[in-house]
């Protein structure tokens, strides 16, 4: 299985090289190669997720063992290693990256015809970057993939993007780079601290070893929080936070996101919102929460504040948008804020909710961006005021849009609910006020998404005026030849169904039966959550109210059937 994992990570890169190096590939051949590769890697990652043993904490599918070191030496005296492996936190994000690449390829099936080979090569390189990142067991390897992803994304936005693409690509690149360079300082510091403060003075770059090693350090320089601004844990937390908060993006680091999304081609948006944003929250969980928990505890009020402001601000801004893509982009800011809140709540329930919600948000937002792409490809506008009642023209599209929106709203029975409800419970246990405010944000979320669906899908049919020249250039000639007047708008094609149907299926499956997903996530989250005291954030005199609210939350959790599952798993 270890070989299969390496194969899954590298096969998109190989295909990308083929696409880039073989001269004279037309768009037909390129997109077929890309789709075949994407489907192959999705199947492989599906097999890996299926074979993943639930209940184990240590990484799976890795060469080597935790004693001898995972993987193979990469640099220097063998301490920086190249090692692939998956654990409960990464396995679903890994599979999601592969799945959304299929959606990305399908979304650009008809819309990208110029420089198509390069487009698909970049898309597949991006996929390798993401897969490699989630499968990294080495801290430097993680960082290499973390930054490497910027290159293909930069070109995807810059070459294939909209009118403002130059500015968007540079803003995206620089914003992320500033953060990630600071995160690099944080990551190196973690290794140095583990080397000098640890009892055994082990020089290791392995993520599992570092997590264990840093947790075992008992030196007062590392564990003492008084005063907090001299404690290296808190400072490293801030450095790492700088890198990942830009990626998430948390308020107020989000300003690059709407620009990048609006200008990016559909495939870029799908992957950017679907997986790349999760890299930020994944980093929070993997490094900030697991390696520098003290920082999370000390800074909790600020972190919770930023997350909640992000939730509300994103929702209110989305409410004011008339451009569908912009609306979905801002809704991402809002939802990602909620995921971050779940993580920072540092309760087992909240963190598990966040991990599953990362996958859920990837599915729903990926689907929503793909839907926006369907509209844009046909009408060349994304203005909501220009369209109405598209159900009549594109019934299948309307179905996809509605289902994805409902999933995003967290309708019980669909996937969003499985993630967002535990997050709110976790946040409530930690700090009831934030949970209440965040819940308001969710109501706003329902409002703007529903009104978007109402405008776009329902009501009398009203289509944007589009010039025939453009439409005939983009529409399939066979479909258009049937009836020029009625069939000017191409119905939803097979490739769009291939791209969206799996997402829809998972939206429903996770909503109805999340157990197989949570089974794999929960054991990995538990040790991280265990490092945070249940109610130790405040002084004991205040603690009584916290404990009370925690009990109340527990009661809520017990009563709800879904959360009794979660509670049972975590033993809370």
């Amino acid at each position: 299985m270890a070989t299969l994992l390496c194969f899954t990570v590298l096969i998109p890169l190989v295909a990308a090289c083929v696409l880039a190096l073989v001269p004279g590939l037309g768009y037909r051949e390129s997109r077929s190669i890309a789709l075949a590769t994407a489907i192959l890697s999705t199947l492989c990652s599906g097999a890996l997720a299926f074979a993943f043993e639930a209940g184990r904490v240590d990484p799976q599918f890795a060469f080597g063992s935790s004693e001898a070191g995972y993987g193979a030496p990469w640099m220097g005296s063998g301490s920086v290693r190249i090692a692939f492996g998956l654990d409960g936190l990464s396995v679903w994000l890994f599979a999601l990256s592969a799945l959304l690449t299929v959606t990305g390829v399908c979304a650009s099936w008809e819309s990208v015809k110029e420089k198509a080979a390069a487009h698909y090569a970049l898309l597949l390189t991006l996929e390798t970057g993401l897969l490699g990142l989630f499968a990294s067991l080495d801290i430097i390897q993680f960082y290499v993939f973390f930054e490497f992803m910027l290159i293909p994304m930069f070109f995807l936005i810059g070459i294939y993007g909209g009118r403002e693409r130059r500015r968007a690509s540079i803003t995206f690149f620089l914003y992320t780079l500033v953060g990630s360079l600071l995160a690099l300082a944080g990551l190196i510091s973690l290794v140095v601290i583990n080397y000098y403060y640890g009892d055994k003075h082990v020089l290791t770059f392995s993520i599992p070893e570092l997590t264990a090693g840093l947790a075992a350090i008992t030196r007062p320089e590392w564990t003492d929080v008084h005063p907090w601004y001299t404690n290296p844990q808190v400072l490293i937390f801030l450095l790492l936070f700088a890198g990942f908060a830009v990626k998430v993006p948390l308020f107020p680091f989000h300003t690059w996101l709407p620009l990048a999304h609006v200008e990016a081609p559909t495939a870029g948006s799908v992957i950017l919102a679907g997986v790349m944003l999760k890299v930020g929250t994944y980093g929070f969980l993997r490094f900030n929460m697991a390696m520098t928990p003290l920082g999370a505890r000390v800074l909790f009020p600020t972190l919770a504040f930023l997350s909640v402001v992000g939730v509300i601000y994103g929702a209110l801004t989305a409410l004011a948008q008339s451009d569908v893509k912009r609306l979905v982009a801002y809704s991402s800011v809002s939802h990602m804020g909620l995921i971050a809140l779940g993580l920072f709540s540092a309760t087992a329930v909240g963190m598990e909710g966040s991990v599953i919600q990362m996958v859920n948000h990837g599915l729903t937002t990926g689907a929503l961006f793909a839907c926006v792409g369907i509209i844009y490809e046909r009408y060349h506008t994304r203005e909501m005021s220009a369209m109405r009642g598209l159900w009549k023209r594109l019934p299948l599209f309307a179905f996809f849009l509605i289902l994805a929106s409902m999933g995003s709203i967290a309708l019980p029975g669909l996937n969003g609910f499985v993630g967002e409800f535990p997050i709110l419970i976790g946040a409530f246990r930690r700090d009831p006020t934030t949970a209440v405010i965040a819940a308001t944000g969710m109501i706003l979320g329902a409002y703007y998404l529903l009104s978007m669906v109402q405008r776009v899908a329902f009501g009398p049919l009203e289509e944007p005026a589009h010039d025939d020249h453009d439409a005939s250039a983009h529409a399939d000639p066979h479909a258009a030849s049937d009836d020029r007047h009625e069939q000017k708008v191409r119905p939803v094609g097979w490739h769009e169904i291939v791209g969206l149907a799996p997402l829809m299926a998972f939206i429903v499956i996770i909503g109805v039966y999340p157990k197989p997903f949570l089974d794999r996530i929960v054991p990995a989250v538990r040790p991280i959550a265990a490092r945070f005291p249940d109610s130790g954030y405040r002084t004991p005199s205040e603690g009584s109210t916290t404990a009370l609210s925690a009990r109340r939350a527990d009661a809520v959790a017990q009563r709800h059937p879904l959360n009794s599952l979660v509670t049972k798993e975590t033993g809370l």
Binding site: S77, F148, I151, G158, S169, I170, F173, L182
Partner: protein, 523 residues
């Protein structure tokens, strides 16, 4: 055999590659006056000389010298640095092969050979005097080269500026070296390093501070670090592109290696007042160079000026490694040695800068030089493969993994961060944060070039055809940049060994004899 004679003959054996290159370079220079050959032939002769030198270097690969007696060393740093200089000489020759008319070609290539011999000698030198001579052996041909290719007003101004400043900096360097010698009575660098272990007991240690300040100032000119950087933009702009390439690489390479040899490996150490002051000085130079280089480069539209400021910024990153190297000692085992980072960075810097300049040189025709960023507009359309290579160099300069430049930055910052137990740990951390923020600023102007190549269209498409030698140099640099990035392990092992060996001053076994001999020699 007389021991002194044995040491001398061993030393001569070790500098055989340099001697051969000097000889053949001079022969080339002289022959040009009598024989008329095409520039391609002259260039081929120069390449053959480099090949001979490389073969000689390999033949003496395992010859070791007595470190306390010999004026030259053949340790890991010396061997691999010389190999590196030879490789980059090839790249420079390929870049310059069609840049001057036939009549001056022999002068050009002969001078380049002499200059390369000098740079190799810097890497091997183990003696203050020889180090100075080697540095001058690079400087003097550089003056000649600046005058050689074009004789217009701007070139002359650039050459004069460089000439005066270079003389000035040599003076500073010599002054500092004199103090170093006066303090110890020794000119052998390894012996100096050995003596410096007992620094707290040395009387009049203040003179050591003077030595550090002046040597660092003299060498800061070569690496184009603040405050002796200001010649770089004018001189780069005033000289032809291939000269700018040479100036951005050779002085920086020798300057950094000289800093490692003369300063950090000798006076460096923990709890040594000299090293502490050296660290502070390097700290200030590093922070100032990075910040000034990167911020001013943001405003440049002229490519040569942009690369000049970027070279100042890169000097700043390397000075961060110097700051860390001042506190590395024999026996300390940090996560990364400062010198290790500098050497890795130098290699990456040479590859990416020379590669980028080679592209600029190759694209410029006789009628149209590539002067500004806008001249590269639409390159991706007219020269797709060249644009890819340029992108590799630029991303590497910006320090994006998995390219060589990233590992250089990583090693340097790791070396600075691994000094957690020092009194100066906080200063190191600030320097790293300044450096990383600078790296992000720096990425902007490299991205601007990429944006010009890929996202803009040219008013008038470039039609230049790239000559195959330059093309080969570009491809080699690009492949190595990617190769070192993807599989850094072998290179990193070499740089680590080189750094450790450069610091190491072995215990003296035959103490009285060696010591007297050292003192004798210096008298």
């Amino acid at each position: 055999m007389d021991p002194t004679l044995a040491v001398l003959s061993r030393a001569l054996l070790i500098v055989l590659p340099e001697a051969l290159m000097l000889l053949l370079g001079t022969a080339l220079l002289t022959a040009g006056a009598f024989v008329k050959l095409s520039r391609r032939t002259w260039c081929a002769l120069a390449v053959a000389t480099v090949a001979i030198a490389a073969a000689t270097l390999f033949s003496i690969w395992n010859d070791r010298a007595d470190v306390y007696a010999s004026v030259v060393l053949n340790d890991t740093l010396s061997r691999y640095a010389r190999l590196g200089f030879l490789f980059f000489t090839l790249v420079i020759l390929a870049t310059a092969h069609d840049q001057v008319e036939d009549s001056r070609a022999s002068d050009l290539f002969g001078t380049i050979l002499i200059l390369s011999a000098g740079s190799m000698l810097v890497a091997a030198a183990n003696d203050l005097i020889l180090m100075f001579v080697a540095l001058e052996l690079v400087s003097i041909p550089t003056y000649l080269l600046l005058y050689l290719p074009r004789r217009d007003e701007r070139t002359r101004e650039a050459a004069t500026k460089y000439f005066f400043l270079s003389i000035f900096s040599s003076g500073l360097l010599l002054f500092g070296m004199a103090y170093l010698y006066g303090l110890s009575g020794m000119s052998n660098l390894k012996a100096l390093g050995f003596a410096a272990r007992f620094v707290p007991e040395v009387p009049n240690i203040q003179f050591g501070l003077i030595a550090v300040v002046f040597v660092l100032a003299g060498l800061a000119f070569r690496v184009a670090a603040v405050p002796l950087h200001f010649y770089a933009p004018d001189v780069y702009e005033g000289s032809p592109a291939f000269m700018a390439a040479l100036l951005s690489w050779v002085p920086k390479g020798i300057g950094m290696i000289a800093i490692i040899r003369v300063l950090t490996s000798t006076v460096g150490g923990l709890n040594s007042p000299v090293a502490d002051k050296g660290f502070l000085l390097a700290w200030v130079i590093a922070a100032a160079s990075m910040t000034l280089g990167n911020t001013v480069a943001l405003l440049q539209n002229n490519l040569k000026r942009l690369f000049a400021y970027s070279s100042i910024a890169h000097a700043g990153y390397m000075m961060t490694g110097v700051a860390a190297a001042f506190h590395n000692t024999q026996g300390s085992l940090p996560l990364a040695f400062g010198a290790e980072g500098i050497l890795l960075y130098l290699l990456a810097y040479g590859l990416m800068t020379l590669g980028a300049f080679a592209i600029i040189v190759a694209l410029g025709g006789p009628d149209r030089e590539i002067a500004t960023v806008d001249d590269l507009n639409g390159l991706a359309k007219s020269h797709p493969r060249t644009a890819v290579a340029m992108t590799v160099f630029l991303f590497s300069l910006a320090g994006i993994p998995p390219l060589a430049g990233f590992w250089g930055k990583y090693q340097i910052f790791a070396s600075a961060l691994s000094s957690i137990n020092d009194d100066y740990a906080r200063s190191y951390q600030y320097l790293v944060v300044i450096g990383l923020l600078n790296a992000a600023i720096g990425a902007y102007y490299y991205l601007r070039i990429i944006v010009a190549m890929y996202f803009k269209t040219a008013d008038q498409a470039l039609t230049t055809k790239i000559a195959w030698p330059t093309g080969a140099a570009i491809v080699a640099c690009a492949l190595l940049t990617i190769g070192f990035g993807v599989y850094p392990s072998p290179t990193c092992n070499v740089t680590r060994r080189a750094a450790i060996e450069a610091i190491r001053s072995p215990e003296v076994t035959a103490a009285p004899r060696t010591a007297t001999r050292v003192v004798d020699r210096s008298n």
